[in-house]
């Protein structure tokens, strides 16, 4: 049976025009085809074709960057499905959540996965930063990408924060009230902040008013947070994620110590410099640098 299926695949399927148009390389049974598979696949080509062995070890990377991205995808998929059942208005939002829990098949599981996935994503992003710090991976030449990462971390928190309002229950409303009350106190721009009186800030024209679309958390806040949560912030986030991934590759792939040979060469250079001898730059070690 197995042989028959194998024969059928090899004689009828793999050589067919349809198969050949999708996969432009042979099956990934040898290193050459596996390299081609990574190279010619838009998702896999985020990876290099080959990488040093330590970079495949979980104890080095903790996998937190990848897990963050996986959870970003989980949030996108579950989020899109949730949008089918949700009206962002103060009269319908809460009832829609109830209907997700009691009427929609697997609605509760969907909502749970979206919420717990968001919490997991916050944790994954924090621990990604923790690992990158502890391995000193933000150092030259990855300074800029570290900065992009810090912004992405902030955006992750903001995504979670804007999503917190959408169930429109007491927990949501008051968490957002507490959170956005901080904006009242922004210097110059919040009506209770220092020096705000010089700019004529009142509770109906300051930065908090712009964020809430009103003087208290209400219907206009819900639609603002909904658009921020579902469209605006994910858009910015996808843009920055692209930069983040691209720069990992452009900055030399995953961080790691200099290769043993290079490190040794540097050591010799340092020792000679310490001894006050002039180091002759041979063509060989110029090429190394």
């Amino acid at each position: 049976m197995g042989n028959k299926l194998q024969d059928f695949l090899e004689t009828q399927v793999y050589p067919s025009q349809i198969w050949q148009s999708v996969f432009r390389h042979g099956r990934p049974v040898n290193d050459r085809n596996r390299s081609l598979a990574v190279l010619s696949n838009v998702f896999l080509h985020l990876h290099p074709i080959r990488l040093p062995r330590y970079a495949t070890k979980y104890t080095y990377t903790w996998g937190m960057g990848g897990i963050s991205f996986l959870l970003f995808l989980v949030e996108t998929v579950t989020g899109i499905l949730l949008m089918f059942y949700y009206h962002p208005t103060d009269t319908l939002a809460y009832a829609d959540i109830k209907s997700l829990e009691f009427d929609v098949p697997f609605g509760m599981l969907l909502r749970n996965m979206h919420r717990w996935g968001a919490h997991m994503m916050v944790l994954a992003v924090w621990f990604h930063m923790y690992r990158v710090f502890l391995t000193g991976s933000y150092k030259k030449p990855r300074e800029f990408n570290w900065g992009v990462g810090v912004i992405l971390l902030t955006i992750t928190l903001f995504m979670s924060f804007t999503g917190y309002l959408l169930p429109w229950d007491q927990l949501a409303m008051w968490a957002i009230t507490v959170g956005t009350n901080m904006a009242r106190a922004t210097p110059f721009l919040g009506h209770e902040g220092p020096f705000a009186e010089y700019l004529g800030m009142k509770n109906n024209n300051d930065v908090r008013f712009a964020l809430l679309g009103g003087t208290v958390v209400g219907g206009p806040t819900l639609i603002r947070f909904y658009v921020l949560h579902c469209i605006a912030v994910p858009f910015v986030m996808s843009f920055l994620l692209s930069v983040h991934f691209w720069r990992i590759r452009k900055d030399g792939g995953i961080s790691g110590p200099q290769s043993a040979r290079l490190a040794n060469l540097n050591k010799v250079t340092q020792v000679k410099a310490a001894q006050g001898k002039k180091v002759e730059a041979t063509t060989e070690n110029k090429a190394e640098k």
Partner: protein, 305 residues
Amino acid sequence: MEETTAVTMYSLENFIEILTLPDNIPIVILITMLVTYTGIAFYKAFDNDKRIAAGRPVWEGEPHNQEKVHTWPHLLNIEFIVAILVMAGLTLWSTFLNAPLEEPANNSVTPNPSKAPWYFLGLQEMLVYFDPWIAGVILPSIIIGGLVAIPYIDTNPKGNGYYTWKDRKFAISVFMFGWLLWIVLIIEGTFLRGPGWNFFMPGEYWDAHKVVPLVNVNFYELLNIDPTTPWLIRELPALALTGAYFSIIPFVVAKLNKKFYEDLGLIRYSVTIMLLLLLASLPIKMVLRLTLNLKYLIVTPWFNI
């Protein structure tokens, strides 16, 4: 009579109830992850330190580990397994624990305590010590800006791309201090702050009518300065103290540790020392509150610090 009060006032039931609230489960996971991953990192760091001391390459730099392997299958295998485990974990978590849903939003019923989402409780906890414009706006901006600045002010070329402690003692200590402070504040804000944002020990009943004496005083009151004195004169000691904190300490540190100053140069050193002093200002204010009941250090007509 007193005994029964003691039993109801101090029982772990209330604490366990808060600990197992569905929305607080991430904090329990956070603590577990912190212990596990810090353990892994420092185990590897001390191992590498021993290797460096013995003149051997670090674990990441071993010839065997430097060897190039193919992404397919060596990396994709482990990515696939991790992805499956994460998805299985998330599905199990979502099957057995429901996301909370309270009563419909109501502007006229304020829950006590009102808390921000758990990841912002560090900021909410800072509100105890600083006014909202500092705790809610200035400090978060400085945290973000300070994190972005790290690669540009840490000029130590060592410890790039491998776990180590000895090569980066200072950088790691500062980061760990900030990171642990952030987590401690989240834990405190979640588990130990009850109605009225009052402090409750684990097991203490969250009494909305807890009587807390308002004994906090401003710095000039500690010095017995007449509150009706013109504010600039009244605040002179506090302004002098704050000025000294941000000017004399950088000067003294630069003098005492010339190498640190010279390695960084004027601009990098100024940014670094200011960030360090700002980082230290939070625990300093916390200690002053606990010991001297200090409310504000500086009181001006526009803002208080």
